[in-house]
């Protein structure tokens, strides 16, 4: 059972790391602010979500697991809002090079 959980953790965290890598590549390579934001928020949402998912079986108890999930939800809220704010500023032209 613990063997299976280990595999689950490794698989989930590796996929999360892949999304962070892809998001970073997108941030560096995409041509303008809106597409870069698109790449970046994928890293936050899916990447961190998968990392948290992988860490859940490792939590000391239900309370710690809940804290991990809350951290993910708070990052979702913050990154979603900030992406909207930056996107709006970019559309107005203040961030376009």
């Amino acid at each position: 059972m613990s063997y299976l959980l280990d595999i689950f953790t490794i698989a989930a965290i590796s996929s999360g790391a892949f999304f962070f890598l892809a998001g970073t590549v997108g941030l560096l390579r995409f041509p303008d602010a809106l597409t870069r934001l698109h790449a970046l928020t994928k890293a936050d949402n899916l990447g961190l979500g998968l990392v948290v998912l992988g860490l859940l079986p490792r939590a000391q108890g239900p309370l710690e697991a809940l804290k991990l999930v809350i951290v993910w939800l708070l990052v979702l809220l913050a990154s979603g809002t900030v992406a909207q704010l930056i996107g709006r500023a970019a559309r107005r032209g203040s961030f376009l090079e």
Binding site: L74, A78, T81, Q84, L85, R88
Partner: protein, 314 residues
């Protein structure tokens, strides 16, 4: 073990890279972004040294509050910056580089010259933890053994705020800081502030409360409270208070005054400045923390809000 070492070396390289990027950045805005990144990486370094208290403080105050203050300064400097950049030539840069280099070499010499194991008071703190009845040794150092440092720190914040307020023009003295924020039409900031502020309020109070027994405390918790306050101000839900109000000034100085009064009372009961009566150390420390938290949160929030920029009302 080697994997941990490799991660620590990688982290150290990242911190140095962020520092170099910050000082070589051409634009002030980019340099501030670099500084915030540097602070967050430094918080990770403190975590890898198992210093969660310092990591929290670095992330909240060193990186967060200072970062926002610097961003505000960047916006204000925009006009004057070109003339400043023109005036500071290579000679000034060279002198700054030499002085910073000398300080770095001096610090490195001192740290590397420490005997191994380094001299420590940790065992003395651990041996006397029972006397103050606290679970977090950092809180015991900050509020019992070195309470004088914390008292002076807490008095620095209102003094810094007086410094910021004194930048106001005479006609704005006593008025509200910052410009009036209108709630934005699409309601994005309003949504964030309404959703996040209650949660942040709870987290801030929790971090203050847990600080006596686990990593946390009034400065870290107070910073979160101040951030939530600023968030509601930025969203246009609340307004900055008029700086001339008596209640505001009472909130600002209550913490340091309670701390000082308890310190002076120490002369009477145990017989020394800032000494706590035996057996009552923990309740007294909790009173100090509870009194300091609103003062710290209000001071930090008003430091971020800046000098008064509106006419005092009535």
């Amino acid at each position: 073990m080697t994997l941990v070492l490799a991660l620590e070396i990688f982290l150290a390289i990242l911190v140095v890279a962020a520092a170099i990027w910050t000082i070589t950045a051409r634009e002030t805005f980019a340099a501030v972004v670099g500084f915030v990144t540097y602070g967050l990486l430094l918080a990770l370094v403190w975590m890898s040294l198992s210093s969660a208290d310092i990591a929290l403080t670095e992330a909240a105050i060193g990186s967060g509050v200072t970062g926002i203050l610097l961003l505000g300064a960047t916006a204000r400097l925009e006009v004057a910056e070109k003339s400043i950049a023109a005036r500071s030539g290579t000679a000034l840069h060279l002198v700054a580089a030499i002085v910073c280099g000398l300080v770095t070499i001096g610090l490195a010499t001192v740290v590397l010259a420490l005997p191994d194991p380094a001299p420590t008071l940790a065992s003395a703190v651990a041996a006397n933890m029972r006397a103050v009845d606290l679970g977090n040794p950092v809180a015991a150092v900050l509020l019992a053994y070195r309470a004088l440092d914390t008292l002076i720190e807490s008095a620095v914040l209102p003094l810094a705020l007086i410094g910021v307020w004194s930048l106001a023009s005479d006609r704005f003295w006593g008025g509200r800081p910052g410009v009036q924020q209108r709630p934005d039409r699409q309601g994005l900031m309003v949504f964030l502030a309404r959703l996040l502020a209650p949660f942040g309020l709870l987290t801030g109070i929790y971090i203050v409360w847990v600080g006596t027994d686990a990593p946390g405390g009034k400065f870290q918790g107070g910073t979160i409270l101040a951030a939530m306050w600023i968030l509601t101000i930025m969203a246009g839900i609340t307004n900055t208070p008029p700086t001339g109000r008596l209640w505001l000034r009472i909130v600002l100085i209550t913490g340091p005054i309670v701390f000082l009064a308890i310190g002076l009372a120490g002369f009477v009961v145990p017989g020394a400045f800032l000494a706590y009566p035996t057996g009552l150390a923990k309740p007294v420390i909790l009173i100090i923390e509870a009194a300091l938290t609103p003062s710290i949160a209000a001071s930090l929030g008003l430091l971020l809000a800046g000098p008064p920029e509106r006419m005092p009302e009535g």
